[in-house]
Symmetry: C2
Subunit: 194 residues, 2 copies
């Protein structure tokens, strides 16, 4: 798996269920979203536009994705809106398709152009680290099954850890997910006990 293959495997429609743990408050907030992902090839005009915005040579981009989402979180206030679109462009390091830069159309967390550093780890997960002026986000995405994408992320603000977020994302662009139906009642499954 390289970065581009990750985006290609992500293409399609997904139902995302999110739990955000507000760590200093020991409180968790849940939410859900519908996500649509289109893989974009290197020739797509949206890819070269983002490269130009970041002053990166478009010839170094191998492709990317267009993502749109529409969701809601439990603690949302009236004016909160969890919908939007974004375009990513993938620029691998010269000698390694397993790591490089991820350019983004705009940062939703800060209004500055956003460049994240990604690599594919030894467990075939995509790890993405994005540093902003006042915070740093560490995200890890992986596919335990072709129709299930999981992610775990943490946000550090001014050096302190503020949130941990988990998403389970299930493909909905097929008549039936191929994950096996089992009864919901099951014994505790962690090695750790709980």
């Amino acid at each position: 798996m390289d970065g581009l293959q990750f985006f290609q495997q992500s293409a399609g429609d997904w139902k995302s269920l999110r739990t955000t743990h507000h760590l200093p408050f020991r409180r968790a907030e849940t939410g859900g979203s519908d996500i649509h992902v289109e893989a974009l090839d290197a020739q797509d005009s949206r890819i070269s536009e983002i490269c130009q915005m970041h002053e990166v040579d478009p010839a170094t981009a191998v492709g990317g994705a267009f993502v749109s989402w529409d969701g809601a979180m439990e603690w949302d206030q009236e004016d909160e809106d969890h919908s939007g679109t974004s375009v990513f462009s993938l620029v691998p390091d010269e000698n390694s398709p397993q790591k490089g830069k991820l350019l983004r159309e705009r940062g939703y967390a800060e209004v500055v152009p956003v460049i994240g550093q990604y690599h594919i780890d030894h467990e075939e997960a995509l790890v993405l680290i994005t540093d902003y002026e006042t915070m740093s986000i560490n995200e890890r995405f992986w596919f335990p099954h072709p129709d299930v994408r999981l992610r775990a992320s943490t946000v550090k603000r001014f050096g302190g850890l503020s949130t941990a977020t988990f998403c389970a994302e299930i493909r909905t662009d097929q008549a039936e997910t191929s994950a096996e139906k089992t009864t919901t009642s099951e014994p505790i499954s962690s090695f750790w006990g709980w």
Copy 2:
């Protein structure tokens, strides 16, 4: 970080918040538990007892942990009880403290002696794979902060993916967690948009 250091860092009292995603049903169930972990050294009699139970030379164990927990899940039925204790013994491979076997007192998922295979990955997380007769569990634990332990796990039954579980665990054996207090209102923090 090696396996023993992971257990040593885990010692203490923790508040665990869990979300279990029942993937074929696209439903999520939440729960919580109080967890107590004691690191055990290699000389502890509980360590050698587990080794003998698994017919492993106790001299190859480097230590382990005693864990107790008491929790509840949202969909619990009256007779369900999420409390218990367990002892683990860590037996690293001969030439590598970064990987090896994790022996457990008893399996809660199947009533057979349980041996998991662990390794510390390049992100300093402990990955543990436990194969049972009819299922396989993949668990990953990591510390984004010394007082915060996260984990993500998936269960495959008969080859089909059945659940994905996330836990955020916050240390409670200190007057105050050192995670920084911030306001709960924050912009969307994922690179991915949602």
